[in-house]
């Protein structure tokens, strides 16, 4: 099976005169068998990118290749892709069986073969006993399984997903995630998965492509995106609760760079910060890496506001001189509105350019 090569993809919508650049010069290669997730906030151009790959939209410029076949100008019917939509798009007037067999029927498979293939797929997806039902009688999760099955039976060369689970609730999502992984693994074709849910992106992908305002911000494996975000945007977008940001300033003290946040000073071990002396920076800290001390003087003083116990952890909200800060505390933590201080390791500090948001350290 081929890989997907997206080169300089740009898509401009012309909405009654004013141009909207939905996708801006995107370059992305998805290897055969690779699972790449396109993640980003609403309206950033994820769907548009995917629809260009699918052939449902025509790129304004750029090329799309499947292997060495240039499909930029090929109609969707000739691309042999599978595509799963957010609004599940099962045909409401066909039974599950018919829905799944439709693509095969179009392609001209015989009745027996259609049935055989559908049953095989149904088994894999554990929906064998739903085959006779109509889509309206299924739950959201089951519907999405059927949609998956519909794509599956056709042995597509490319698998595309557009937020297939955004209408499902958390439990169902967690249940369906392994199923999707299993299916794409089985077919072994390149997969482009669009979502705005960073958790989905993190858990499922080989690589995550974070997109912001039509441009790719970072493309890397999940752990790298989480641990080494290359911009403030990525850091904030990936990880739950979000990275907390503060305004700071880099100073050069005795040749080493020192970070000043309000009255606090931090020594930064990292190299390459010399050039930033005197510059304003944004300081990022993941809530997971902040500790809470009972001694209000041990670090930054913080007044406890609210706890959100999750069972295996608690999200605690504190009021500090830098505004509201979220900290991930342990399950038994009960702040009770008292005074604490927040402590963190200097290693865990991320620094970003205050204006461009680019990672400094």
């Amino acid at each position: 099976m081929p890989d997907i090569e997206i080169r300089n993809l740009t898509k401009v919508y012309d909405e009654s005169g004013n141009k909207i650049v939905a996708v801006d010069d995107v370059d992305l290669t998805i290897e055969d068998g690779e699972f790449v997730t396109l993640v980003g906030p609403s309206g950033c151009g994820k769907t548009t990118t995917l629809r260009c790959v699918a052939g449902l939209n025509k790129p304004t410029s750029g090329t799309i290749k499947f292997g060495d076949r240039d499909v930029t100008h090929k109609p969707v019917q000739e691309r042999n892709i599978a595509l799963l939509f957010q609004d599940i798009a099962l045909y409401p007037h066909m039974s599950v069986q018919e829905n799944m067999a439709y693509g095969l029927k179009i392609t001209g498979f015989s009745r027996e073969e259609r049935i055989a293939r559908v049953e095989e797929a149904a088994e894999l997806l554990q929906i064998t006993d739903q085959l006779k039902k109509m889509p309206a009688d299924l739950s959201g999760g089951q519907q999405q399984r059927v949609a998956l099955g519909r794509s599956l039976v056709r042995d597509p060369e490319i698998f595309l997903f557009d937020e297939p689970m955004s209408d499902l609730d958390a439990k169902l999502k967690a249940e369906l995630r392994p199923v999707i992984e299993k299916v794409t693994d089985e077919i072994g074709c390149p997969t482009l998965y669009v979502t705005h849910d960073q958790e989905e992106a993190m858990t499922m992908s080989d690589r995550v492509a974070v997109i912001n305002d039509g441009k790719l911000a970072q493309v890397a494996p999940p752990k790298e995106v989480y641990d080494e975000p290359n911009s403030q945007f990525v850091s904030q977008f990936i990880g739950q609760p979000s990275t907390q940001f503060f305004d700071g300033n880099v100073r050069s003290v005795n040749g080493t760079a020192e970070l000043a946040v309000s009255d606090y000073r931090f020594n930064l071990a990292s190299d390459g910060l010399e050039g930033w002396a005197g510059e304003d920076v944004r300081v990022g800290l993941r809530p997971q890496y902040i500790q809470v001390s009972d001694d209000p003087a041990a670090g930054i003083p913080a007044t406890h506001l609210l706890d959100e116990p999750l069972g295996d952890a608690t999200h605690s909200f504190f009021d500090t001189e830098f505004g509201e800060v979220v900290v991930v505390t342990d399950p038994d933590f009960d702040g009770n509105g008292e005074e604490y201080s927040l402590i963190f390791r200097e290693d865990d500090i991320q620094l970003y350019d205050a204006t461009s948001g680019v990672r400094i350290a």
Binding site: K58, H73, P75, E78, I106, T107
Partner: protein, 317 residues
Amino acid sequence: MASETGESIRPGRTYIPWDDLPVKRETVAGVGTILPVVVLYLLIAVLPIAFAFWASLHHIHTLNPEWQWAGLANYREVLNISTFWGSLWRGIIYMVGSTLLQLAVGLWMALVLNRITRGQKLLTAVVFTAYLIPTIIVSLVAMRVFDPAGGVFQMMGAEWFGLWGGREAPLGSRDWAMRLLILIGTWKFAVFVTIFTLAQLRAIPDRFYEAAKVCGANRWQMFRDITLPRLMGIVLVVVLLRSVFMFNKFDIIWQLTEGGPGNATTTLPVLAYKTVYTDQAYGLANAISVVMFLFLLASAIVYFKIFNPSEEVETTT
């Protein structure tokens, strides 16, 4: 895989490479889809109307194939004949009276049908049937029930309510003919309003009412603040359609009263018809029709300007 198993993937017969085509092709296809409609429309509306315009500029005796050029003489005559203004006025009364009554009755029936629980389907079907049965049958039944000989409504009107004499024919009465035409028309056509509004009512989610109830709203307030605004869009459309249809209505009037007694129910279409077949003045009749058309067109434009039924409030459901 499919190809490996030897099964060739047969593409569907004709892929029209839509996205490959220059933009023009979509235009061509789009226009292609409406072409049958355009052809039909040409046959049934554009050509005959153009013909009517042309004919209205001639003196034409209905039974004489020779036309004489008349210029605008027919139009001058139309505006000068006394029956024209009377008929226009009666036509407006008939149109406005019928439309308003149909709207009120249609809406009311929709509200009731939407609420009743038992026998809803049957009653809805019966009510809808009124719209579906041929006008001629409505006329036949109406003539029967208003017939002084054994007509039940005639009998009720005469004996129970004293509206008319025992042997009087209400459809032949100056006082009653127009009113009854409006009533009978309403019986048949109010359902048109009902169908549309009932469809809309079914589409209003309960939660809107529940949210209003939570706020303490009573039924009238719920009707005023939720039902009515939601129906407004379609009501505007339906009023437009019904007005046009009623203004042009001919068959039921002709069948029931032939424009009589006297001229009491002669509306413009009836006048045009009489002008063709009784006065044998085909050119003049066409001039009347053209004037009617212009009148409706002007009214419709004003209506669009004031109410704009094409711009509907965006809704989230």
